[in-house]
């Protein structure tokens, strides 16, 4: 009855990947030259995959929407990358990294995939060092490590507060080399807008040249989606402005399954929204919670006075402050995981204790740390973050507490893939944040970089060969085939339809409405009533969009508004699927918090007996409800426990 085959190899956990590699099919060098692979996206996953596949001898076509692969949003990751090197000799191992990741994901990820991730993590560090990534080092010349949330060991490698940048530039340099050697052909300022399927297999894409506005066809033997997550469905998020879910969504609409769409991560320490015209939210590194203390006023009248600008936080006496994380979670205090810290901030603000002009902010206070450590030490640890904060908010965090509030940061859900990172459409692969596979219901800090590079450097280049091995006699496809013709025509009609609306509202103004519905009803705390309301409201947003959007300019031109409109059309539908999935999952786990399902103390309450599965959604057509399949998560190696941060 279950049609889902995750293709997890048999055998002990630690031997699965080795056994797979020993028995998989390979493609010989002469045949590699005859096979074309399209890789969409140039972030950590896309760039590392394109470069590696090119080196192996495949013909790679690599696409990105920016003017350079180096602009992909992986570049903005701050903190670090995890690996099980155990250089500090503090007891780390592949198994521990695996276990922490499974537990951090609230037991909603696939065991075999996560183990493999931990297994290849060490090779990533070796690879990056060889490329010239300037990781932080000790005086003895060896690599430095630091600790991060959700782990008892120091396993995070870092390059100042710019680890994502340095890792991406490493992958990008490998990609540059592959382009120079004609192993990869690069298409910048191109956006994939549709997937082409021939005889049930992924065989190409339709992409829009963003400079000329022309639709172009590209054929290949396999297509790899590495386009990141869909957090911008919330309009305001820590994602980049052009980060979008459209490539993955077009695959979904062509039959690819979508896994766990409701799983989105909300990061607790972002700079709060300041006004109506805010375009994005800026993340402040999780590391600040090591020394900063989070609080709001104890008295509601103090909170009101602060919001009215009549009182300053420094005027509130110590006994009138509520250090609510320390109060609720004595054992972990300010260092509880991201989901817990985010919900606690929302709870206080909803109860009327929020600060800032909007009341949607809490304090992150370093006064005690400055007293304990001295200003110099605090500056050494967090100077660059304090400076960034001051540039944006115009407040000096050494003198007055920072204000922070949670924001959407990462989506754990994504295209469903099997152990080989292939979707249910043969020849269509998804890697990095674009797939659903490794983080379950919550991702740990410093694990996104690890997963992107693991998929791109060390996993996909193996697994894709198992698929391509029986494609060697398949000749290159002509892009004149009716399948390409039809896909382009449908897309062209869709663009014409959008251009012809000529309504009254800008794309951004409708995107903001979508974001509002998503944040209020499908955000940090969800319940049945709200989610049903969200589904109704999202239908209205969709109708509003398709009748009232105004796209100036022409389609055959550099037209940012048209680009945004195409993405927004998909975000609205992604939002709908997120709401359906959240409604369906009647439990709380990781980043998915259902108000009806919490412990007496307000913590997440999983129902392993009913919901220990991946929800796998299938598109059934424009006005039809999608169908949900379940991929059971039968744990062979790990025992599920309730997470506890109190004692």
């Amino acid at each position: 009855m279950n049609k889902i085959d995750s293709k997890v190899p048999k055998g002990p956990l630690a031997e699965k990947w080795t056994n797979y590699k020993n028995s998989q099919k390979l493609v010989n060098p002469a045949n590699k030259r005859r096979l074309d692979i399209i890789v969409v996206g140039t972030g950590l996953a896309g760039a590392s995959a394109a470069a590696t596949l090119g080196e192996l001898g495949f013909n790679v076509l690599n696409f990105c929407i920016q003017d350079s692969p180096r602009r992909a949003h992986s570049i903005a990751a701050q903190g670090g990358i995890n690996a099980a090197k155990n250089y500090p000799n503090d007891g780390d191992s592949v198994y521990r990294l695996f276990y922490d990741t499974i537990k951090g994901g609230d037991y909603r990820a696939r065991e075999a995939n996560v183990y493999r991730l931990a297994e290849v993590s060490n090779s990533i560090i070796d690879q990056c060092v060889a490329q010239g990534v300037p990781f932080a080092r000790e005086y003895g010349g060896l690599l430095a490590n630091r600790s991060f949330g959700g782990a008892q060991v120091s396993r995070t490698f870092y390059a100042r507060g710019q680890t994502g940048q340095q890792l991406l530039l490493g992958a990008y340099s490998a990609l540059c080399r592959a382009v120079n050697r004609k192993q990869v052909k690069l298409y910048t300022r191109y956006e994939m807008l549709d997937l082409v399927i021939i005889d049930g297999r992924a065989r190409g894409i339709i992409a829009r040249n963003l400079v000329t506005g022309k639709l172009e066809r590209f054929a290949a033997h396999a297509v790899v989606i590495a386009t990141g997550g869909y957090g911008n469905a919330f309009f305001l998020s820590t994602n980049a402005m052009t980060s979008n879910g459209s490539a993955a969504w077009q695959c979904y609409k062509k039959g690819a399954w979508f896994g766990n769409p409701c799983m989105a991560q909300i990061h607790p320490t972002c700079i709060p929204v300041h006004g109506e015209f805010q375009s994005k939210l800026t993340l402040m590194s999780e590391s600040l919670r090591n020394d900063g203390r989070i609080w709001v006023p104890k008295k509601i009248e103090d909170a009101e006075a602060i919001r009215a600008g009549k009182l300053k936080p420094t005027q509130i006496k110590e006994e009138d402050r509520d250090y609510y994380l320390e109060r609720r979670y004595p054992a972990f205090g300010n260092l509880v995981p991201r989901d817990v810290a985010s919900r606690a901030a929302k709870e206080r603000c909803d109860a009327g204790y929020g600060v800032g002009s909007t009341g949607l902010a809490v304090y992150l206070d370093f006064a005690e740390a400055i007293q304990r450590l001295g200003k110099e030490v605090v500056e050494e640890r967090y100077g660059n973050l304090f400076q960034m904060y001051e540039k944006i908010v115009d407040d000096n965090p050494y003198e007055t507490p920072m204000m922070i509030y949670p924001a959407i940061h990462y989506t754990m859900g994504g295209l469903w893939v099997d152990y080989e990172l292939m979707t249910n459409i043969p020849g269509l692969f998804a890697i990095g944040e674009a797939n659903f596979s490794d983080h379950g219901a919550n991702r740990l800090g410093a694990s996104a970089l690890m997963q992107g590079l693991a998929d791109g450097y060390f996993i996909l280049p193996y697994t894709i060969q198992n698929y391509l091995a029986d494609q060697i006699s398949v000749k290159r496809f002509s892009t004149d085939l009716p399948e390409f013709e039809q896909a382009e025509k449908e897309l062209s009609d869709r663009i014409d339809k959008l251009m012809s609306i000529q309504g009254k509202h800008s794309v951004d103004s409708i995107h903001k409405k979508l974001g509002h519905v998503m944040w209020e009803l499908v955000g940090m705390a969800r319940d049945e009533k709200g989610l049903k309301e969200a589904i109704v409201q999202l239908k209205e947003v969709k109708k509003d969009f398709w009748t009232n959007v105004r796209i100036p300019g022409k389609k055959g031109d550099f037209n940012t508004e048209l680009e945004k409109a195409l993405r927004l059309a998909d975000f609205i539908e992604i939002g709908e699927l997120m709401a359906h999935d959240a409604l369906d999952r009647e439990e709380s786990c990781g980043g998915h918090f259902r108000i009806e399902h919490q412990t007496e103390d307000g913590e997440t309450l999983r129902h392993d007996d009913k919901f220990a599965y991946v929800s796998v959604w299938e598109y059934r057509g424009e006005d039809k409800a999608p169908v949900m399949y379940k991929e059971p998560l039968e744990y062979e190696f790990v025992v599920r426990e309730q997470r506890n941060y109190k004692s």
């Binding site: 903005a76 090779s123 010349g141 340099s173 015209f277 100036p552 300019g553 508004e561």
Partner: protein, 251 residues
């Protein structure tokens, strides 16, 4: 304390690469000084769209100063008047009520205009492809700690590696030289043992590509260093020259 201000912006408008461009002036009312410079442009575009006009095209993405996508020459400075930040990190509190702000694209032979404020920086890609890497394939790499690297060397390499490839150095340079960009990459890799084997070849091929693409020469005016949002030092150019000359002497 942030106020709302009324300003005028004088923006370069150009329909396409070969069209004739011109300045257009727009008035904006009640702009919060707490908004970012790019949010001010979002407001302008919202206004233009509501008036049935074509919005201003400009490049931007991460809006947190790291992707290098945003550009803009603001009141005669790449990334605006404030130091050590990109345009996306610039806030309206740097301006006053009644100001007229001039906004232009990067102007340089190496970066042709695509539309309005958007320029084509493909030349940087070509320079990188000419040699901005260490030639290693994926896999088969010795342990990351096999070669110790002195901490100060690693830190210097990191200083150079912080370049975001935005092109402000080229835009700031009266000669339109890309030396700071090239020097940052050459230095980063020359400082590390992993990059040494190819150091000479890298310096030669990146410089040759830069010359071929029409970027000007470096005359040590230092404007690039002053305007660089990431504080990349011109001492990297000295290091590049050293690498380059060494390579030439060996030839």
């Amino acid at each position: 304390m942030d106020k709302d201000i009324n300003i005028k912006v004088k923006v370069w408008r150009q329909k396409g690469p070969k069209e004739k461009g011109r300045f257009e002036t727009y008035a904006l009312k009640n702009i919060s000084q707490g908004s970012s410079f790019l949010e001010m442009l979002d407001i302008l575009n919202e206004q233009l769209i509501n008036e049935g006009k074509i919005p201003v095209a400009f490049d931007h993405d991460c809006r947190e100063g790291i992707c290098g996508m945003c550009s803009l020459y603001i009141n005669g400075h790449p990334h605006g008047p404030d130091g050590e930040i990109t345009t996306c990190q610039l806030h309206m509190r740097s301006f006053n009520d009644g100001d007229t702000i001039t906004i232009e694209p990067w102007r340089s032979a190496g970066f042709p205009i695509i539309k309005d404020l958007v320029v084509d920086r493909t030349a940087f890609e070509k320079i990188m492809q000419a040699g901005g890497y260490v030639s290693v394939n994926t896999g088969g790499i010795p342990d990351a700690n096999a070669i110790p690297i002195p901490r100060d060397k690693a830190e210097l390499a990191m200083d150079a590696a912080a370049c975001i490839g935005c092109g402000a150095c080229v835009a700031a340079c009266k000669n339109g030289s890309a030396m700071l960009f090239v020097a940052a990459k050459v230095s980063q890799l020359a400082l590390l043992p992993q990059g040494r084997p190819e150091a000479a070849r890298r310096a030669k091929s990146m410089v040759a590509k830069m010359d071929e693409l029409g970027f000007g020469n470096c005359t040590n005016t230092g404007a690039c260093e002053v305007e660089c949002p990431k504080n990349i030092s011109i001492s990297n150019i000295a290091r590049l020259n050293r690498e380059f000359l060494n390579a030439k002497f060996k030839d």
